[in-house]
Structure formats: structure tokens, C-alpha cells
Amino acid sequence: MSWLLVGGIVAVAVHPEGCGRPSDDDLTESAQLAVDWFAANLEPDGSFVYRYNRDESAAEGGYNDTRHAGVMWALWQAEADGFDGAGEAAEVAFDYVETRLVDTVVGPAFGRGQVVGSGSTGLLVAALDERRAATGRTDHDDLLLDLGSTLAAVVNADGSVSADVHVTDGPTAARSPFFTGEVMWALARLHLTFPQAGFDEPALRIRRYLVEDRDEVESPWPPVSDHWGAYAFETMDRWPVPPPVTEIEEDWRSRQLGLFSLQVRYESQRRGGITSLTRGETALAAGVGTLGEGLGNHMLQLERNGSRTSDLVALEERADCAAHLLVTRQITQAAAAGDPDPARTVGAWFRLDVTQMDDQQHALSALLLLRDTRLGDSS
């Protein structure tokens, strides 16, 4: 009787995990399909189809500038890895940006209206800096430095980051769970590109706050699984003089790795059917992508430094699992054959028949990062 009772309860608590290890070719093909989706869903003004309902075969409204900048970053990331059509689409996407650069009292920012997000500016910096790395072109350097000044200005004395900049009043008191890491990452990248410009100091200020205070001050529970923070740590590790990883930072990283891994394991238990009742619907591809991004960045850093080697096998399993979930959930040419407008669906990830451009963005970035970890590309 005990065995039956325990078996039943355990079966509800722990489900089989639908994990696998996609081949390198699978990762490459999936990433190329995502790039192709962006190219096919690029509007003449440089924006992308933001949200698309497959069931109704119709685009839905709305747009998000932070996500636009994120897409640009992912496309330049793909261009740097040699994917066809990525750079061309990203260049056109900059047309959208050019008409939405706002002058604020602390410098230019990317957005619209009287209050502009610091996250959109941060991701724009990451995108333009990646463009510089991918193409060697320096024509946006002045803009990069100006945007960097704006970002430095949104970093408060305690290292917290103002989520918004008011055009005339400057940085606001608003906070965002994601913009902190985005701004830190952008400043970290800028220090790598322009080592004499002094972007390292505000980046390090954020780093201390993010690790030691952020969760307690802004989000006591649950702790943020911060893929943007992972990008920032990985970038700082490539600084000419990388900051040493302190004990408290190592603890933070351990918690982050646990969070990412737990979410991958949980997501992999969502296999439709009865698991919809016990685990809910599958997550957005954007969410699964961020798990791959977080794991990928931490793995790159750990591999580069030869640290925590005993954890790398398990991390690789979780990363492979995240990639597997993405590859198997993507709409392929064959799966889209019956769609009235396959250009809107091939290469995309849908949840409840809806896709949003950040689904493709985070998934693409994750696939590319996980590909890099396999290639040992931790330079």
C-alpha cells in the first residue's frame, strides 16, 4: 500500500523529462530558420512583425522598442557567426532606431515619448557594439559613446539602475528586473571596446548591487534568474583586467545556475497531454531561450577559466535540454505547409498559436550561444 501511495505521489511530483541533445547541424539549421523569420517579417520602416496569431492568420498589434533592440542584437550575433541574411536585416532594423533616438537631459536614448526605457538603450548599445565586432565598421562609434554616457547616467550611486529616463527630468526612480542587467552588460561591452572611456566604473557599481542588494531591494521572492546579468559577467570576464570573482559572486552564480537548471528541468517535464494538468502549458520560447542564454553565458565563462569543471557536465546537459526544447518546438517548413502565410510561421515558436518577435530573439541567441559553447568559442 505504501509503495502504491508513494509511487502515485512521486509520479505527480516528478515527471519524465523530455530532454535530448540536438546535433550541431540541428542548432545551425534552427538558428538559420529564426534568422530567416526575421528577414521575412521585416517591414519597410525597419520594424518587425511584432506578434502573429497562427490560428487567425493575422498579425496582432503592439510594439516594444527594447525587444526591437534585442532582435538587432541577436541578428548581429548571428551575422558574427556567419548566418545568411542576418546583417542585412539588422541594418534595415536600424532605420527604425534612427527615427526614435530621443535627446534627454542625460544624453540620447532609444525610445518614444517623454519617458524612455534604459533597457532599450542598453540593448541598442549591445547590438551596435556587436555590429562593430562583426563587421569592423566604426561609423556608429560616436553614437555608441553618447549612448554609453546616457547609460552611465542612469546608474545610481548604490549601483541600482533607473529603468526610465524622463526627457527633461532625467533618470526616474523606477526599477526593472531586466534593465539592470541589460545596462550592466552594455557598459561592460563598451569598456571592452573603449577601454579608456571609463565605462568600467559604473558597470562594476551595478555588478555589486546586482549581486548583493538587487533581489533584496527590488524582488525578495522569487529571485530573478538573470540572463542579462549572465551576459554582463561573461563580458566582464573578457575585460583586459577582469574583475576577480568574489565569494559572494560565486554564491550568486551558484544560485543562478540552480535557477536556470531547475526551470529547464521543469519545462522539459511539460510534454502535453496529462502534463498540461500537472505542469501547465509549455512556456514561451522567449522564456526557454533566456534559460539557454543564462546557461550559455555562464558556461562560456566557466569553460574559459577552467572553473567548476565538476558542474560543467550537468550544465551541458541542461543547456542541451534547453536547445532540444527549442529545436523540437520550432515551426519547420513541413509543419507550416498548411499555413496560409508560411513566411509568418516558418522558423517561429508559437505558444497557444501566438508568437512574438522576442520568442525568436531569445531562442536565436540561446541557440547561437549553446553552439558557441560546443565549439569551445569562449574567446
Binding site: 540552480g258 531547475l262 528541468r265
Partner: protein
Amino acid sequence: MTLTLLVLAMIAAANPFRAASARDDNADRTTVGLALAATLLLVLIAAGVSGPLLELVDVAGPSARIAAGVALLVIALKDIFATPPIPQPALPGWQAGLVPLAFPVIFSPALALLAVAGAAERGVAVALFAAAVALVPAAVALLVGPTEPHRIWTGAVGGFGTAIAALVVLDGVYAI
């Protein structure tokens, strides 16, 4: 999961007072020794098949720890709230050490899953060692304890087991 946590969890899973409550008056040292040896053999088998088993059911090591913690929680709650087992119809003579003492009284589903999860994380030898240490209190209780239901003490170990179960679950939750 540290070795200490694994040992404590296995002690709770093989609750010595539950085992003593189920002991028949006629059970001698040989019977008790056989029960413990048989339990260790079952633990060895569970630990030995850990890798292929988890692969077969598509469960990662940390998730196996969550499963083991949940199983321990159920068994510990049962120890708290259910009446301790009384001596059951047993196989004749020394074979009573096999049924019911080794199975199902001592080798509970929680002990089985702890052996599987422990071996997956730390190896078969460590899981077996942990079980051997964890069975010492059961051995003492079986050999020197009175043969009557130990409701309060069984429940006390159950209470201890719920706390340990929570730690085992958390260990699996926060693992990579």
C-alpha cells in the same frame, strides 16, 4: 546532497521504531541480521540500477532527489499519523527477516528512492555506505527494543523525517 543528509534521510526512511514495532517476538538475532543484510542487498540493487533506471524514465539526478524527498515526506507523515505496524504474518523461521522485516517494513519506497538518488549523485559505494550507517539505529532498536508498538517514538522520527525530507527536496530543487 551531502553524505550526512543522505544518512539522516535514510535513518528516517528506515525508521528504527517502525521496524521494532513490526518485529515478531520470535525474531532472534539471526532473523534481525538477515533482515538488515537483505535490506542492504535491496539498497545495493536499487543503487546499482540507478543510472540505467533514471535514463529509462528520463529523470535527471536532481529530480530524482526531489522524488526521494517527496517519498520520504510521505513515509514520514505516515509514521507520524498512522498506527505503527504490528507483527504481520511472516515467513517461517529465519525467513521472517526477509518478509516482513526487510520488505516491506525497513526497505520502504523512500529508502529505495534515496538509494537511487544517492547513487546517481555520489556513486553506488557511497549510497551503500550511507545505508549501512543508517541501519545501525534500526539494528539497535530491533535487537534491544521492546516488541510493542512505539507510537510516540515512531512519530518523533517521522517528524524528524519531514524536516529532512524538506531539505532533500530543496537540495534537488536548487541543484544544477
